[in-house]
Symmetry: D3
Subunit: 70 residues, 6 copies
Amino acid sequence: MKISGRNFIPGKIVEIKEGATTAHVRVAIAGGTILTASITNEAVEELGLKLGESVHALIKASDVMIAVGD
Amino acid sequence: MKISGRNFIPGKIVEIKEGATTAHVRVAIAGGTILTASITNEAVEELGLKLGESVHALIKASDVMIAVGD
Amino acid sequence: MKISGRNFIPGKIVEIKEGATTAHVRVAIAGGTILTASITNEAVEELGLKLGESVHALIKASDVMIAVGD
Amino acid sequence: MKISGRNFIPGKIVEIKEGATTAHVRVAIAGGTILTASITNEAVEELGLKLGESVHALIKASDVMIAVGD
Amino acid sequence: MKISGRNFIPGKIVEIKEGATTAHVRVAIAGGTILTASITNEAVEELGLKLGESVHALIKASDVMIAVGD
Amino acid sequence: MKISGRNFIPGKIVEIKEGATTAHVRVAIAGGTILTASITNEAVEELGLKLGESVHALIKASDVMIAVGD
């Protein structure tokens, strides 16, 4: 499968926290940055996400902003 | 200023392409990944974005998906 | 590849209109509805999208609203 | 009321699951696809959403991606 | 029609700029803030948007961030 | 820090409701409108958000729709 979404960032899952309906999955990427993805609990279960697993974060280009300065 | 958005990824601008109203800004991040941000031309101009500039990509956690496998 | 995004809707491409940086791709789905996806020109080209091609529209659950009444 | 959002997909509600703050509403659309909308509990209550109710899923064009292949 | 999206902000259109596919519509709201909406040219035309028209900006709660400080 | 996101709306926090993973923060803006932001509990805590605090709602232009009529 190929996706029009432009941003695939490789990393490893370092935390999975399921809430009542919404889960937060943290992914360590190159350079020491930790990303947070807010997805459905159902997606966590259907994909069988596990700590330490290699995944990609996928982000549509129209959802990326640019920040400059501190 | 601090922002609730959870994902700040440091990088350098490697391409700026302005369209009629919408610009694509590419940012090289650690690990060799190039991100694409689709933002307004006006933001490019107001922030004075330049090739080679150090910036952060900012992404809200609810806009991040997880992809597994190839 | 499997994606955490919950909504995959099968259909056929009925129109591709590239702008300066942003393209609109229309996809006819079951029931006579035509969806519009606003994606980058680059994605149209990299995926080699063509009229009549069978594709899926992919939408993250947090981007779906519910409308009631007229 | 008319909305600039381009994608209105008719369907019927087949599941409503409220979490602590976020609800998942599933909508059966033509062709046998079930959509998932992640919305606030408050919206579920204010709109009085009910199982079996005819609704539309509403999605902004910039939130639709295209996937090709398997 | 009622929409699950939580944020309706009343205002008046003060600028419409159509690009090749994407339009920027600016809406003056209470307190002197000018909002920018990036929507399709097609939506501008189908809704017949005009300068000075009273409209609402509609934003899903999951698309709102909070910023503190300067 | 400057952000490419085009929409900063000043207001005061009037309610914070944390769920299992996702919080709803309500912000009163000029003209009597109350906005709802759905953000992570972690952001609420890291930013130390408090009732009555002056903040800005930040929204990317591509996440703003236009609604006309009733």
